[in-house]
């Protein structure tokens, strides 16, 4: 038993994690008869919590409440992973990535996210507000405009060869590359 826990506690390589993530597609289809996707949960929360007369938010979100329960599951699973099945070791980034982070002035690479940006201790700093709040806003707006995120478009959509999903993934990388190469260096320097 201990050795099993030890084994699970190691970071999982891509060829273990990727296929299990891929299994979310048939598990959703067979067990739930629904397609895999997570960004819709933002829409359901919006429809449930913010009363409005907007057409886009007036639909039977309760019929999709399973999707919100799935998100609650993510909270539970990630909590258990971090609390009980983790070595606490820093992420094994490539040397090139570590060097680039240092160029950006990021010293603390011990956590999942840079603690000098993504923590409540830095909530008063414009940089933190920009990364968390503007970033979150763009994710919410962009996923609804595009009709899906990494799970709904990249994994679910490409799994059944949807051209709009392919176009959306090209967009994901257009935005990601612009941010990572052009805008982040300006913000962080």
């Amino acid at each position: 038993m201990n050795s099993l826990v030890e084994w699970i506690s190691q970071p999982w390589p891509w060829y273990v994690a990727g296929p299990i993530i891929g299994l979310m597609v048939p598990l959703h289809l067979i067990l739930l008869n629904r397609t895999f996707g997570i960004s819709s949960t933002f829409r359901h929360v919006c429809a449930a919590c913010i009363p409005s007369k907007l057409d886009f938010l007036n639909y039977d979100w309760k019929a999709e409440s399973w999707n919100l329960v799935f998100a609650v599951g993510i909270l539970i699973g990630s909590f258990l992973a971090a609390a009980y099945f983790s070595t606490g070791e820093p992420i094994a980034l490539s040397e090139a990535a570590v060097a680039r982070m240092q160029e950006f002035g990021i010293q603390d690479m011990s956590g999942q996210h840079p603690a000098d940006i993504f923590s409540w201790d830095h909530i008063g700093e414009w940089r933190t507000l920009l990364f968390v709040i503007l970033g979150g806003f763009l994710v919410g707006f962009g996923t609804r405009y595009a009709g899906g995120c990494t799970s709904g478009h990249a994994i679910m959509g490409l799994s059944h060869f949807q051209l709009p999903s392919f176009v959306a993934v090209l967009g994901f990388f257009t935005g990601g590359l612009i941010m990572s190469w052009l805008i982040l260096p300006l913000i962080l320097s």
């Binding site: 060829y15 739930l32 997570i38 993510i74 999942q112 979150g136 806003f137 993934v169």
Partner: protein, 137 residues
């Protein structure tokens, strides 16, 4: 029943997001800088398994747990919104280092400030809902 299954699947998904480091801002930057195969391997093998599963489900006309034939609707053929919206999402993805699934997983695993990213994301949906008629799709 549906909710129990969703809770279990979600928990498994949350566990993987942490264990495979998919939720890490560092991993996302590494991906966009093409400095590691890790994220590409994960997304690529996930799509391969997903595509094979869809093919098997269609070929053998697999039924859902409730006994219905599984239907897979095509995504709406709206390419402008897919590309422009996708680009907006990509900007946010590289900024927060997280797409929606990992945002929840970050909250669960201790980076609780991401609650604010989710709240901002919900306001992003509200803004889209208000502007929807004026945006090109």
């Amino acid at each position: 029943m549906k909710n129990t299954i969703a809770l279990i699947l979600g928990s498994l998904f949350g566990l993987i997001l942490v264990k495979a480091e998919v939720l890490s801002w560092f991993r996302i930057q590494e991906m966009f800088a093409f400095q590691s195969f890790h994220m590409y391997g994960i997304i690529g093998s996930a799509i391969a398994v997903g595509a094979l599963s869809v093919w098997l489900i269609r070929t053998f006309k697999v039924k859902s747990l409730e006994g219905n034939l599984i239907e897979l609707n095509d995504k709406a053929p709206r390419y402008t919104s897919a590309y422009v919206g996708g680009t907006v999402f990509g900007l946010g993805w590289a900024m927060t280092g997280a797409c929606p699934g990992p945002m929840y997983a970050l909250i669960g695993s201790g980076t609780t400030i991401m609650v604010l990213a989710v709240v901002a994301g919900v306001l992003g949906v509200l803004t889209y809902a208000a502007l929807r008629d004026k945006l090109p799709h």
